[in-house]
Symmetry: C2
Subunit: 472 residues, 2 copies
């Protein structure tokens, strides 16, 4: 059955710019959501609504653009132009860091944040009107196709569903929250009017999806404590995943093979890998400290083991992110200064966005360290084992969503316990080949059986369930 | 009915020292718990077990001392000597800051804490053996008086009840937690073995008491998530309070009257008061910032209003506390530098332990600011209105335990919202006399009706309830 779907997300699948010759060119985004929804676009009639980001995006906003996905599937694209000041408040003040930091437990509450007049303004004149801009675009599309289901994504859009619902009481609205949902006391950081508004906004959906039961249960608890009532929307758990065929293909691509040759040429005997955005939630500083503790405890392994940290610079317009980048560089330098020898640097730190290099490193790791403080899912923990060629061991934080699925085959670590992380690195490096093989095979089998299509299907099944019941 | 009770707390009611002539003198502690349990000591047969702190305490440890409370009531005192290194780990590493910071949401999780080998050692060789020392003393007392009920206090002693229960399966054990209980994800900071051990230790009690339903519900949720089972102990809510007669008397004491004369001589027309320990949970830095925002918005009130901050220096052996003292001094200086004029300093910051001065200020405030980030109860919010003589208004954090009782008569603030706190200060200063009187009268009536004896009685009633059921 071919469905009509309106996908709504802050970042869209395409952004426009002009090349050196002044020609308009469309750059397909490489973001996880675009990849994740590829199957949806291929099989259904999708209109995608997203923020206009570049100048050229703004020039095209309002029009409906006929675009094609990487596989040639057509979809409609509608870019929403927001006031530049409003968008800055929406994105750089409310969504990040505030909501992101609350949902990942990152504030230092003794000192930060201070909800000042600036923040109230950023909410009232930034987050709310940008959400209203999205809602208006959705309502126009619903006028054209009243039976289309609307599919909102993530923490940028907590208010939009209520705004749509008020004008379109019978619309089918669904929301997927890609990041952790914290327990209700975490929301105490927001003034009551805001925490009520965002919970109320989400509950205007018919269905709300989360990656794990843990985040879903936290949401239900949060609704009870903050709104004083049971959730009026249906909630589902659907774990996002990857497209194994894409990684099979990528692993043999020229770009990845070239990057892999470089890694092989300079890799140490044992390679410890981390691949992350430079986000404070990723726990990069403690990861370096854990590797330092490992090296201190195992002098026999110096020169033989090295950590490769492939870090995609992230949100550098936000002070906390800029500071975190500084802190992790300082920590890597400190560890290297302590241990490095002629011909061996313990931590090979690369701060750039280079996906082929990441996939090449996925093939080459002996130990993958994913020690996130909190993480909605963490796809690296699913992607890397798929293509790994050394029976690598995954060390995984108990607070990553992926742990709910992969827990029995990984070495579980508490992200705050650097001593335990150092021990896990040691245990992973010492693990015998049979055991390593058994674990990574199980991870691969799980990910292949629970791939990205399973995630999309779970959501479409929830839509079918709605359609089968009385309309609102 | 005169009961046999064994009270167990880290800090005891008496500490010993030698005066200038080398004579042993007993100094009665002024701590809240000692005052709170005065009624218990007066009416029942109490043996108090506490840590030996001073050298003289250590010399007396092991003996049973016959002491008398301030009102002349006799009680038995048993001081427990701990190894000095173990006690330092127990007190300055595990109890404070770790447990205190977790229970008040104070860590900056992107960077702190790191659970390193030092922390594992502090738990294994500090918190656990100090709890074992308490348990051994309790067991010896139970051998002497097998029918005595044991009454543990607070976050220092989460393991001791299990250690007692293992040796004395039929003993009656009760625990009171005086600080907030956070929701389960907050405990993720601790390695699993520790978070399991402390929940398990508490559940060895027959009854566990909390100041508010909010903390009690969080505890039940926490047990479910962390132990995967329902709580096997009974939980009760019993809000600690004050002895109104004590404050009536204090308010007219020579020391308070002298301090009050000094305050009156230099007070501005309108006096904004805060009285706190210099604890990061008390939110002193944001309080100063809120007052700055108020002064910026109301230039007509400069010179007319002043803030008096009476701050008892706290836990200065712990780096986070030393840093917080620096930060709040810097913030006060910044605000004063911005606004002060000849003859008027906006913030009068006094860092000393001077209880008569605090009571004098209680009498004199026009607005009392209690903006704690999280606080188990906060007795200042109950004490100060009792003796206030200016129909002062209380501005109270929604995250203080006292808010559950006093919420309808205070101006409620979100502790992170400095803008809202500035507005609450304005609203309080503008409030008409009738309204102010109505509110403070209601607070006083509530506190007099729910005094310290009501708190003790609620706990004794829970013991009676236990005795009425089948023994374990």
């Amino acid at each position: 059955m071919r469905r009509k779907l309106i996908v709504v997300s802050n970042r869209g699948p395409v952004s426009f710019s002009r090349n050196e010759r002044g020609e308009l060119t469309a750059k397909r985004g490489g973001g996880g959501l675009v990849t994740a929804l590829r199957g949806l676009v291929a099989l259904h009639e999708v209109t995608w609504i997203a923020s206009a980001i570049s100048d050229e995006d703004h020039a095209l906003a309002g029009e409906v653009l006929e675009e094609t996905a990487r596989d040639g599937s057509p979809f409609r694209l509608r870019l929403v132009a927001h006031d530049a000041q409003a968008y800055d408040w929406f994105y750089n003040v409310v969504s990040n860091p505030m909501l992101w930091f609350i949902q990942h437990h990152l504030w230092e509450l003794a000192y930060t944040p201070a909800i000042d007049r600036g923040f109230h303004t950023a909410w009232d004149d930034g987050y709310v009107p940008v959400n209203a801009g999205f809602a208006a675009a959705v309502l126009e599309e619903l006028e054209r196709e009243p039976d289309a289901a609307v599919f909102f994504h993530d923490y940028h859009l907590y208010r939009a569903p209520r705004m749509v619902r008020e004008q379109a009481p019978d619309a089918t609205l669904m929301h997927f929250v890609h990041i952790p949902w914290p327990q209700p006391d975490a929301w105490q950081v927001l003034p009551e009017r805001m925490r009520v508004a965002m919970h109320d906004g989400l509950l205007a959906n018919d269905v709300i999806g989360f990656h794990t039961d843990r985040w879903r249960r936290n949401f239900l608890h949060s609704v009870q404590e903050i709104l004083g009532e049971d959730a009026s929307a249906q909630t589902i758990t659907a774990a996002i995943s990857v497209d194994p065929a894409e990684f099979d293909e990528l692993a043999q691509s020229d770009a990845v093979l070239a990057a892999e040759r470089e890694i092989v040429a300079r890799r140490p005997e044992k390679l410890l890998l981390r691949v992350d955005r430079t986000d404070p939630s990723k726990n990069i500083v403690r990861g370096f400290r854990a590797f330092e503790l490992y090296l201190a405890a195992h002098p026999e392994m110096r020169r033989r083991v090295g950590m490769v940290a492939l870090l995609d610079p992230s949100r550098q317009h936000i002070p906390q992110y800029a500071e975190y980048l500084g802190a992790l560089q300082r920590e890597a330098r400190r560890v290297n200064d302590r241990f490095q020898q002629e011909g061996w640097t313990p931590i090979d730190l690369q701060i750039e966005d280079d996906f082929p290099q990441s996939v090449a490193a996925y093939k080459q790791f002996d130990v993958l360290l994913v020690n996130a403080i909190f993480d909605g899912m963490n796809l690296v923990a699913k992607e890397a084992p798929l293509v790994n060629e050394r029976d690598g061991v995954v060390v995984l934080s108990e607070n990553a969503g992926a742990h709910a699925e992969l827990g029995e085959w990984v070495l579980t670590v508490n992200p705050f316990d650097v001593e335990a992380q150092a021990e896990a690195i040691h245990r992973a490096l010492e693990m015998d080949g049979t055991e390593r093989r058994r674990r990574i095979d199980a991870i691969r089998a799980h990910v292949r059986a629970h791939d990205i299509n399973a995630w999309v299907d779970a959501q479409l099944a929830a839509l079918d369930g709605l359609a089968a019941t009385t309309p609102r």
